[in-house]
């Protein structure tokens, strides 16, 4: 078995580019949420052109929909470059495939976006478009983590003697958050009522608190894990408040003939904070797998992880 450690310096430029792509994707999520909250999803009836050209009249809801399409194309281009760069520069085969997966994700997103227009926003397609957006964002965030210098340098593992293991808690929290995002998207696009999403919120809150609590209690001296716990606690608290506010604002806004700013603001922030919650839990999961070993001795310097699958 080859245990030789790849002592090449991590590619800092690739890492910075991955971070830039992740930030751009986050802005794209905001743009997409603005389209939905402003009911502008079908303001451009054709796709991929807009009013038969590449630059439509910029009036009303067209501004939101067109901006979203332009930003989506930009993120698509960024992702092509990212996947290509990873393919050329990375020695880890699984990273190459992850870059490829990100590229596949953004292409699928483009197709789903076109289908929402061509099929007049059926709830299943719109919800799938919203969900894949979150998944794609998390994928790019994961790439940013994997290309970081921290990930590619040796670490000292710590033992997790608690039950359930933080690794398991983190993984199940990720799954629960992802399902909650699907339920939220389905509610937002009129596929479901609010009840499943409320039940999901309870489940997610319990799991996130269990995970963050375990991290704080079991690894108080491990800065990355402690910071993950703080971020998770903060995000879940904010997201619960935003969820309540967003729901109240939707009920209040139903009396008005058009989307009102308070409803647009709260629903958009709630949507993108959901993406941050998923990405944060994913990062927590990755860090847990990097730092926390099940069954090894406390403080034993770990064998540097194999860079080759």
């Amino acid at each position: 078995m080859n245990t030789a450690y790849n002592r090449e310096m991590p590619n800092r430029n690739l890492h910075h580019y991955a971070v830039f792509t992740a930030c751009s994707t986050f802005l794209l999520l905001i743009a997409g949420a603005l389209v939905t909250s402003n009911q502008a999803g079908l303001s451009i009836p054709d796709w991929p052109l807009a009013y038969g050209s590449i630059h439509p009249p910029m009036v009303g809801g067209i501004v939101f929909e067109w901006s979203h399409r332009v930003m989506a194309a930009s993120v698509g281009f960024l992702t092509i470059v990212l996947a290509s760069w990873i393919w050329v520069a990375e020695k880890r085969p699984w990273m190459r495939w992850l870059g490829f997966a990100a590229l596949g994700g953004v292409i699928a997103q483009g197709i789903l976006g076109g289908l929402t227009v061509r099929m007049f926003q059926p709830p299943a397609v719109s919800a799938a478009h919203a969900t894949l957006a979150q998944l794609f964002f998390s994928t790019v965030v994961a790439i940013a983590v994997f290309t970081s210098a921290w990930w590619q340098t040796p670490v000292t593992e710590v033992d997790d003697s608690g039950t359930p293991r933080v690794r398991s808690l983190a993984v199940w929290s990720c799954v629960a958050i992802f399902l909650q995002l699907i339920l939220g998207a389905a509610f937002r696009h009129n596929g479901f009522g609010i009840i499943p999403h409320l039940i999901g919120a309870v489940v997610v809150t319990i799991l996130v608190f269990m995970t963050a609590g375990a991290l704080k209690r079991r690894f108080p001296g491990v800065a990355p894990l402690r910071n993950c716990a703080k971020i998770l606690h903060m995000l879940i608290g904010v997201q619960l408040l935003l969820g309540a506010g967003a729901y109240w604002s939707r009920i209040y806004a139903a009396r008005f003939p058009q989307p009102i700013p308070v409803m647009v603001t709260l629903t958009v922030i709630h949507t993108v904070t959901g993406a941050l919650v998923l990405a944060s839990m994913l990062v927590t999961t990755l860090i847990s797998y990097r730092l926390v070993a099940v069954g090894s001795l406390v403080g034993k310097p770990a064998t540097p992880r194999e860079q080759v699958a």
């Binding site: 402003n38 009911q39 502008a40 999803g41 079908l42 303001s43 451009i44 009836p45 054709d46 009013y51 439509p56 009249p57 009036v59 009303g60 809801g61 067209i62 929909e65 699984w94 099929m119 007049f120 926003q121 059926p122 709830p123 299943a124 919800a127 799938a128 969900t131 998944l135 994961a142 690794r167 993984v171 990720c174 799954v175 992802f178 399902l179 699907i182 339920l183 998207a185 389905a186 009129n190 596929g191 479901f192 009396r255 008005f256 003939p257 058009q258 989307p259 999961t285 990755l286 797998y289 699958a309």
Partner: protein, 267 residues
């Protein structure tokens, strides 16, 4: 690597959840076999010599909800020329609680008769970034002309359940959009996604015995042959009324009234 298992679990969960969200919601019109037009089967023609009428009025019992002001500040072309603020048109009342924009129609009793689609078109206009009229009614197969009188771009997007959905843009000065609907449906919501406050309703009926009330709340359904009929009133907020059964003799006029309760909508 364990993260690959995480990815697989997430993907499986996502696919499962997306399959669930596919349940319910809008039906897939592209997969639906087209139903025959309601007025297609050959039937007898109405004898004008014996046809009668159903007249009446529609009222709102209780205080009408206050309509909201529409903000068109983001679109100067919409508020140009306006002397008063635009108001939503969900509930429009006249004197004495008369209720406007109610579609009154014969729901049953005319099935044995044949009603070819009228040759004239029904028109809906976009003026001051609002639809005029707010509620329009037409017969199955009758032409609908959509006109843009504004100096801004609109898209007109009916959202039917029984008919084929469409969504078309209409720049200023463009020719009228000509469409028709193949199936009875009461009523089809219409919106403009460029200007989200723009809403209208289109009722598609299988026979010509219908009318949309004005602010006086009155209706007069003409050309009804002798017989027994079910008449219904529909309002966008208050829904469908209890059906009323009317029996008409030769050349007879019957008078009925509909009342919607304001409190029933949760106002």
């Amino acid at each position: 690597m364990k993260t690959s298992k995480l990815g697989i679990y997430s993907l499986a969960a996502g696919m499962f959840a997306m399959a669930i969200t596919g349940c319910g919601g809008k039906k897939d019109e592209s997969a639906e076999a087209p139903a025959p037009a309601a007025s297609a089967p050959a039937g007898k023609m109405v004898d004008a010599a014996t046809a009668g009428e159903v007249t009446g009025s529609v009222k709102l019992d209780g205080a009408a909800p206050k309509m909201k002001t529409i903000s068109m500040a983001a679109e100067p072309a919409c508020s140009k020329g306006r002397t008063s603020p635009a108001m939503s048109e969900e509930v429009v009342t006249g004197d004495g609680g008369a209720l406007a924009n109610v579609v009154v129609y014969v729901k049953s009793g005319l099935e044995g008769y044949s009603f070819p689609a009228p040759s004239g078109a029904v028109k809906i206009e976009q003026q001051g970034c609002q639809y005029h009229p707010h509620v329009v009614a037409m017969q199955v197969g009758q032409n609908l002309d959509v006109v843009n009188d504004d100096q801004t771009t609109h898209n007109i997007h009916p959202i039917p359940m029984q008919n084929r959905e469409w969504n078309e843009s209409q720049p200023p000065g463009a020719a009228p959009i000509e469409k028709s609907f193949a199936r009875e449906e009461i009523a089809i919501p219409v919106k403009c996604n460029v200007h989200p406050w723009m809403k209208a309703y289109m009722a598609v009926l299988s026979n010509p015995a219908y009318q949309v009330t004005d602010k006086d709340g009155k209706f007069d359904l003409k050309g009804i042959p002798p017989g027994t009929y079910t008449v219904v009133a529909w309002h966008e907020l208050y829904g469908s009324s209890e059906p009323q059964t009317v029996t008409i003799g030769p050349k007879e006029t019957k008078n009925i009234a509909f009342t919607f309760k304001a409190a029933a909508s949760g106002d």
